[in-house]
């Protein structure tokens, strides 16, 4: 087998752009979160560091890097360090299968705006997201603190319970798409309106989308399901013993997760990089410009979903642990099953 140097360089370039891009967006998601929190509470939010406080994430990151690093005496040192590393790793790994834009066809060949077009894209995402539980669990257990351990168990059980309903809600959607590849799912949602109905999966699977969204809230440990990390009420959470940038990595990984899962939601349900009248646009502009427009469309959708996540966070109070479990097991899973049955019946007898 011959090594294709150009291919490797192209992919490396794409990976670094996506990595830096998602890190940057995650950084500014922290800023946006504070701004959203502020304006919803009639405050102003960070506005001292630079114009409108735009340097605030840099200042926060710098502060975390310079803080004292404490590793508890009786902790399992290797696992303690592995915890945040794993959280960060799984957070950025998901971005590999997201199609960021259509193929750019040039004279020299085709450039795909996707790191890996594997045919089990969704399964890959689910696998990596489940790995994220290890980061939480290892971190909480290795710190040798009962509260951390309890909290990480709480977080892990929450993640596992909601992954079930999340998977079931997607099964119904996958029955309609007939493919696990994210690229194919996006291409099926081409444009906005086709053959008398919307092409986006949101309009085909509204209930599935709703269940997926609720589960995404729980998977991301975001309000109203943010009990793994409430600081004062439940003793800080699994990262109680963490300090300095290791704590920073845990918190930062969540914002990367937030961005990536918003992109995944946009890809699965809101047509990814597709937008209305895209064929007319594609006919009138150059392929590179068209690809840029598509990427910007996807990012806009993702940012809208991030903002929605933030609006919800500052609207709803936190669920109690038993309420959380009841919602997951007794409401969402049966609902997802019903959705699955209905979808199957519709495919079998109505659409054919």
């Amino acid at each position: 087998m011959q090594l294709d140097i150009a291919f490797i360089i192209e992919k490396l370039l794409l990976i670094s752009v996506i990595l830096l891009g998602s890190l940057g967006i995650a950084m500014y998601a922290t800023w946006a979160e504070r701004k959203v929190a502020a304006v919803m509470q009639d405050r102003r939010g960070p506005n001292r560091a630079g114009f409108m406080g735009l340097f605030q994430p840099l200042a926060d990151g710098l502060k975390l890097f310079f803080k004292e690093e404490i590793i508890p005496d009786r902790s399992t040192r290797f696992l303690f360090i592995l915890g945040p590393a794993l959280a960060m790793l799984t957070a950025v790994m998901t971005s590999a299968v997201v199609p960021w834009g259509p193929d750019i066809v040039t004279e020299n060949g085709v450039i795909t705006l996707q790191v890996a077009d594997i045919n089990i894209g969704i399964l890959f995402i689910f696998g990596v997201v489940s790995l994220g539980v290890y980061g939480v669990m290892l971190g909480g257990w290795a710190s040798n603190n009962k509260f951390s351990l309890l909290s990480s168990i709480r977080a892990a059980s929450q993640a596992i319970s909601y992954e079930l309903a999340m998977g079931l809600s997607l099964v119904a959607m996958l029955m309609m798409t007939g493919s696990l590849s994210l690229r194919e799912i996006v291409e099926q949602q081409h444009g906005f309106w086709d053959a008398g109905y919307f092409t986006w999966n949101f309009f085909k699977q509204p209930l599935g989308f709703f269940i997926f969204l609720v589960c995404a809230f729980a998977e991301l440990n975001r309000a109203p399901f943010d009990l793994p990390e409430c600081e004062s009420e439940l003793n800080m959470g699994y990262h109680q013993e963490y300090s300095s940038m290791k704590l920073g990595f845990y918190l930062f990984a969540e914002y990367i997760n937030l961005f990536i899962s918003s992109t995944v939601i946009a890809t699965l349900f809101f047509g990814g990089y597709n937008f209305p009248f895209m064929d007319q646009v594609a006919a009138s502009v150059s392929p590179v410009l068209f690809a840029i427009i598509c990427v910007l469309t996807l990012l806009t959708k993702a940012i809208c979903i991030i903002l929605f996540f933030m609006f919800i966070r500052w609207t709803l109070p936190r669920f109690r642990y038993d309420q959380l479990m009841r919602l997951g097991w007794k409401s969402l899973i049966p609902l997802a099953l019903v959705n699955m049955v209905i979808t199957g019946a519709v495919i079998l007898w109505v659409i054919k």
Partner: protein, 168 residues
């Protein structure tokens, strides 16, 4: 017995289906929080924008001079006597011939100290002063790193000399 007319009976009816599925409540909550985005901000941007003080605000002390720039204080000690927090100490000295341009009366305060950590800014010293020498200005007490810098000496308290200021 009703103390106010504002008490309301709590509704303990079983929840309806609409309430149970929780979604209308979420929409309502979202409409409230999103509505707050467009409301006026409550923040006062402090260093750029200052709220006006009340006309009776009492801040940092000053020691006054008369029109010729002479210190008004005669170290009578009435302010220290009036002070409920015992924040003021002073030492008196007699004016020497030739110092008439510095001190208004025959006696003056050689040392005049106010411990700002003790001071409660009640303004009783200002009221007690028979010579209109001590006043409470509108300046907020600044912060310091050491206790000793909270003890304000006479030099810190005296206002600038009116004629020397003009010649500059």
């Amino acid at each position: 017995m009703k103390l106010t007319n504002r008490s309301a009976q709590v509704n303990r009816d079983p929840m309806t289906f609409g309430e149970k599925i929780y979604l209308p409540a979420i929409a309502k909550g979202l409409s409230i929080t999103v509505g707050h985005i467009f409301k006026k901000k409550a923040t006062v941007q402090y260093p750029e924008e200052k709220r006006p003080f009340s006309p009776v605000f009492r801040g940092l002390h000053i020691l006054n001079r008369d029109e010729q720039g002479r210190e008004r204080c005669t170290a009578c000690g009435l302010c220290a006597l009036a002070c409920p927090a015992e924040a003021i100490t002073m030492e008196a000295a007699e004016r020497k011939p030739g110092e008439e341009n510095l001190y208004r009366e025959e006696k003056y305060a050689a040392k005049y100290e106010i411990n700002m950590l003790r001071c409660i800014f009640c303004g009783l010293c200002e009221e007690a002063c028979p010579k209109d020498a001590v006043y409470l200005s509108e300046t907020i007490m600044p912060t310091h790193y050491s206790r000793s810098s909270f003890i304000y000496k006479k030099e810190d308290l005296l206002i600038a000399h009116p004629h020397k200021q003009e010649s500059k």
